[in-house]
Every structure is written in structure tokens, then in C-alpha cells.
């Protein structure tokens, strides 16, 4: 059957269109980006090669770049240590109620995940609005007038508010992943633990969590990548402000190229972004693979 499964013409016809599209829309652009990152082009007019000057400036003299990486790290931490455990707990509860009720709840929890980021972001921009937003109305009603701030432009609350929007939309995904993962745990393992006299916290920490390790690590890898990639929600809510406090790297490179007319510099940020994204993904995956082997 070599003629069938090793048919070269068939393989070429099947693989080349996809590879061509990816090369055209993904690989060549990154090549272009690298080329422009070595120039001082404004995006129009003439330009000069500047060597690695843009990279040098980003890494040594651009606090906004580092700030945007720190923000991504904060988002990762909040996602992994707050959103994920809550989602896991809720998934565990859903696994113990009737199929029908669990299905209804899961469908509701996932609603935000199917909506456009524009709708999601504008929803929350309005809820956070200091004058008519329901959040501040609620706070004033509760006599907490001093807490009723301008959430998205106050330096103390802006980052937290943006992170809330992101976490809120991502919640349905986390819940869905964990619920599906929990469904793969064989009932016998859980029952055997109960028969042996294990309490439910013991069952979870000793039996179910270790069994779920591959799912948990996949979700964490996804969280890490998506925290780095955040852009639209920030762009549409705070646009990196106030004073770059909510800056994320994808928003920053966009502003540099299209607002500040530093196209070359923006491309250098873009290339560093690819390096960071690929680097961290490989690192996190390695980390979990070796730990999985120890288990």
C-alpha cells in the first residue's frame, strides 16, 4: 500500500496550499519585519539602515517595553493562581450535579467566550463608566462613595480593571477545559478512593489532581501564551494608559508604528515579541514535559 499512503503527487497537492498560505501571511511578513527593524523608517519617506540600534534602545532604554512584559506576567499570575482554581472548583461542582443542570450552567458560563472582543470590551467600558456605569452606582448606593473611581483611567485601578475584563471573558474557556478534563477521570478511581476511606479533599489532592496533570499543564501553557498575546481588549479600553501603566507589548508596537510614526522601532518590538512568545512557549512546554515524566 506504499503507492497509496506514499503517493508523492497526492502529498504535494494536500500540503502545498496550506504551507503556501502560511508562508505568505506569516513567515514572509516576519522576514519583512526583521528587515525594517534594522532601519529608522517612519512608515513613509526615505529611511536609513541603523543596524541593531532599535533593539539596543528597547532592551536598555525603554521602560515601557519592560513594563508591558511585567503586565503580561501579572496577568499570567492572576489567570493561573486565581481564575484557574475558581474555574476548577466550579467545574468540580458541575461534575457532581445532574447532567442536564450542568449542561445549562456550562452553556451560560461560556456565553462571553463566543462574543466579539469589541462587544465584550465596550460592555465593560460602560459598566466601569464613572458617571452612569452600574458599578459606581452600586458603590454609591452602598455608601462607598470613595471607592467609586474612574476605573479605567485611575492609575490605581486601571490595570486591575483591564485584567478583570480579560479574566472574565476567559473564565468560560478555563471552566470548559477543566470540566472536560474531569470527565476523563475514570469513575472507578474516584470510587476506589472513597471505598478506601479517603475524604473528598484527599480524593482531589491525591487522586484527581495528579490524574488531571496533563490537562492542567495544557491550560497553563495556553494561559501563558494568551497573556502575552493580549491586545484588542487593552487597545479598545485604556489604549495602554494612563501613562503606559496598562501597556501590553502588542498594543505598544502598534502605537509605535501607526501613531508615533516609528515604524522601524515598532518592527523591532514585533520581532522581540516573536522571540519572547516562541521562547516562553518552548520553555513552559519543556518544563511541564519533564515534570510529567517525574510524575
Amino acid at each position: 500500500m506504499n503507492r497509496l499512503f506514499g503517493n508523492r503527487t497526492a502529498i504535494a497537492f494536500l500540503v502545498l496550499p496550506g504551507v503556501a498560505i502560511m508562508v505568505f501571511a506569516l513567515i514572509v511578513p516576519i522576514g519583512f519585519s526583521f528587515y525594517f527593524s534594522l532601519t529608522d523608517w517612519a512608515g513613509f519617506g526615505a529611511f536609513n539602515p541603523v543596524g541593531a540600534a532599535n533593539y539596543k534602545e528597547i532592551l536598555t532604554a525603554d521602560p515601557v517595553f519592560w513594563r508591558s512584559l511585567v503586565n503580561a506576567l501579572i496577568l499570567m499570575a492572576v489567570t493561573i493562581f486565581i481564575q484557574n482554581p475558581v474555574a476548577f472548583a466550579l467545574a468540580a461542582l458541575l461534575a457532581h450535579i445532574s447532567q442536564k443542570a450542568s449542561q445549562i450552567f456550562r452553556s451560560i458560563f461560556f456565553v462571553p467566550a463566543v462574543l466579539s472582543v469589541v462587544v465584550i470590551t465596550k460592555l465593560w467600558v460602560n459598566i466601569f463608566n464613572p458617571t452612569y456605569g452600574i458599578l459606581n452606582k452600586l458603590l454609591r448606593l452602598a455608601g462607598l462613595k470613595s471607592l467609586a473611581v474612574s476605573w479605567l483611567s485611575n492609575p490605581h485601578t486601571a490595570l486591575g480593571s483591564v485584567i478583570w475584563i480579560i479574566i472574565w471573558q476567559g473564565f468560560g474557556w478555563a471552566l470548559l477545559f477543566y470540566y472536560t478534563g474531569l470527565m476523563t477521570v475514570p469513575k472507578e478511581i474516584e470510587e476506589a478512593a472513597v471505598v478506601d476511606g479517603a475524604s473528598w479533599p484527599q480524593t482531589y489532592t491525591r487522586i484527581i489532581l495528579p490524574y488531571m496533570f496533563p490537562v492542567i499543564s495544557s491550560v497553563i501553557v495556553i494561559d501563558v501564551i494568551s497573556s502575552l498575546k493580549q491586545m484588542e481588549m487593552i487597545y479598545l479600553s485604556t489604549d495602554g494608559g494612563p501613562g503606559q501603566l496598562t501597556q501590553f507589548i502588542a498594543v505598544y508596537l502598534y502605537q509605535k508604528a501607526f501613531v508615533a510614526s516609528q515604524y522601524g522601532y515598532g518592527n523591532a518590538l514585533s520581532i522581540l515579541f516573536v522571540v519572547v512568545a516562541v521562547g516562553i512557549t518552548v520553555l513552559v512546554q519543556r518544563l511541564f514535559r519533564s515534570e510529567g515524566e517525574i510524575q
Binding site: 506504499n2 499512503f5 506514499g6 503517493n7 508523492r8 497537492f13 494536500l14 500540503v15 496550499p17 496550506g18 504551507v19 498560505i21 502560511m22 505568505f24 501571511a25 511578513p29 516576519i30 519583512f32 519585519s33 525594517f36 466550579l90 461542582l93 456550562r106 451560560i108 458560563f109 456565553v111 463566543v114 462574543l115 466579539s116 472582543v117 469589541v118 462587544v119 465596550k122 460592555l123 460602560n126 458617571t131 452612569y132 452600574i134 452606582k137 473564565f171 468560560g172 477545559f177 472536560t180 478534563g181 490537562v215 495544557s218 495556553i222 501564551i225 498575546k229 491586545m231 502588542a250 508596537l253 502598534y254 515604524y263 518592527n267 514585533s270 515579541f273 516573536v274 512568545a277 516562541v278
Partner: protein, 288 residues
């Protein structure tokens, strides 16, 4: 049996019932938190803008003002943008589905030297952020006159959905027995026919999931559309909301009506296909 034992206050079944009640109450609170913002926006989309500024926490639409929707429809150019979104999304979804099906087939079932390398290359699409192609594509696509055209949006919409779709198809194609193709081959069928009439029907569940997931992803995409399209009449649906911010920045009720209209198509799709969306969404994390 006396009355006392009939209604015990602290026996196990009462405790269980209370636990169950608490559990459901907890779940309901979370459910409200997840849909409340939508309901809030819908609530004020059928009232006068002034009502939003009233002193009450939530005002119910006792006299619905549906006129807001008429204005949102016309001034938000909903119909024009809806048609544009449909053109871009339907074509990118169909092509992405076919192309990723082929990629998944070749990388899971066929035998060739560069197979692992090719699979790794396809996986790159999930690691490389879309945003890193925004700046260079603005120049690179312009070389072909693709900037500010629907084709210029369709191509990256295909490219960025290929990786996930291939992974999803691969999961399903791996499980099929090889004798499927062998018997069709011995009957004289050739590759296009084997794929279309033997393999595709067996992968039907994955095909539905890929179609729906890709549709949602591309339908909701904003930043590439925002970057590559500059002519107002070419833009896609999310722009209705953006339009209102500039033109009617103080007319919140119409803005809210517009947001509701834009949210509606994915919600309708989700209502009918939630099973497929949910099974597809987890394919990557749980299997991979």
C-alpha cells in the same frame, strides 16, 4: 412515627438539601455574573439615553423604545457591515476548513520524510502572535494591492486558523482504520474521491466543529480588519460599535442597541451549535 422525627432540623437529608441549595445558589451567582453585563446593555438599549443617568441602580424598560434599534441599524450601517463580514468570513471559513483537512490528512495518515517537520511548521501558527504580522503585512500586502480589500483580510484569516483546525482534524483522522482507504483504492478510487467520499464523511463531527469554531473566530476578529481596511464601506461588523463612539458619543441608548445587534449573530449560532463549539474548544487542551 411522631411529628418530631418527621421534620428533623439537622438530619442528613436536610443537611444534604441545604448543601444542594447552597451549591445551586453559588452556581446561579456565577451564571449571573457571566451574563449580567449583556442584560444590562440590552436593558438600556430599549430606553431613552437619559434613563441611563437616572439615580436608580437599574431601571426596567416599562415603555420600550425600539426606535433605538432602527437608528442603530441605519446609522451603524449594520446591513452593509453584516454583508461584508459574511463575504470575508464565509470564504475564509470554507477555504480554511478544506485546506486544514488536507494538511491533517497528509500529516497523520500519509507516509513521507518531511512529515514531522511539516507538522511542526503548521503548529507555528498557534505560537506566532497575529499582532507581529500587522506591521509588515501592511507593507507586504500592499505590494500585491491587497491592502484595503476583502481578499487581503481573507488570506490572513485562513492562515491564522489553519494550525488549530489541522490539530483538531488530526485528532479525529488518527482514529480511523487504514483499511478505509485501502478498500476504496482497490475498488479503483483515486485520491480526491477517497478524501471526499470515504474520509470526509467519517470525519463529519470534526468538520462541523471546525466550521463553527472558525466562523466564530473570524466573525469576531477585529484588529486585522481595523488595520487593513480603511474604506468605510468595506469594513466588518464590529465597526458598527466603533462608528458610534465618534459620531454619537453621547447617545448611549443607540450605542447599546448597536452592541446588542452585533452580539446577536454569534449568540444565535452558539444557541444552535453549542455542543460542537464545546467539543471543539477542548480538543486542543485535552488531547494535545
Amino acid at each position: 412515627m411522631n411529628a418530631l422525627t418527621k421534620t428533623p432540623l439537622f438530619d442528613r437529608s436536610a443537611g444534604k438539601r441545604f448543601g444542594k441549595f447552597a451549591l445551586y445558589a453559588f452556581l446561579v451567582v456565577f451564571a449571573i455574573l457571566q451574563v449580567f453585563p449583556l442584560l444590562w446593555v440590552f436593558d438600556y438599549s430599549i430606553q431613552k439615553t437619559g434613563d441611563l443617568f437616572g439615580p436608580e441602580l437599574i431601571k426596567l424598560p416599562l415603555v420600550p423604545v425600539w426606535h433605538n434599534y432602527a437608528r442603530a441599524w441605519v446609522d451603524g450601517k449594520i446591513l452593509r457591515y453584516f454583508i461584508n463580514s459574511s463575504i470575508v468570513v464565509v470564504s475564509s471559513v470554507l477555504i480554511s476548513t478544506v485546506v486544514s483537512f488536507c494538511l491533517a490528512y497528509a500529516t497523520t495518515r500519509m507516509v513521507w520524510k518531511l512529515r514531522t517537520l511539516a507538522a511542526g511548521f503548521i503548529g507555528l501558527g498557534m505560537v506566532i502572535p497575529i499582532h507581529t504580522t500587522l506591521l509588515p503585512n501592511f507593507i507586504w500586502f500592499n505590494v500585491f494591492g491587497l491592502i484595503n480589500t476583502h481578499v487581503g483580510l481573507i488570506i490572513p484569516y485562513i492562515a491564522f486558523t489553519l494550525s488549530f483546525n489541522t490539530l483538531l482534524f488530526a485528532g479525529q483522522l488518527k482514529t480511523l482504520p487504514r483499511s478505509m482507504e485501502e478498500s476504496a483504492f482497490l475498488d479503483g478510487a483515486r485520491y480526491p474521491k477517497i478524501l471526499a467520499s470515504v474520509i470526509a464523511p467519517m470525519a463529519a463531527p470534526a468538520i462541523v466543529t471546525v466550521l463553527v469554531m472558525t466562523f466564530l473566530t473570524n466573525w469576531n476578529e477585529f484588529i486585522m480588519a481595523n488595520t487593513y481596511l480603511s474604506t468605510d464601506d468595506l469594513r466588518t461588523l464590529p465597526f458598527s460599535i466603533i462608528r458610534f463612539q465618534g459620531q454619537y458619543s453621547s447617545d448611549y441608548a443607540v450605542q447599546f442597541a448597536c452592541m446588542t445587534l452585533v452580539a446577536l449573530p454569534p449568540l444565535v449560532l452558539y444557541f444552535f451549535f453549542s455542543r460542537w463549539i464545546m467539543s471543539g474548544a477542548t480538543a486542543g487542551a485535552v488531547k494535545g
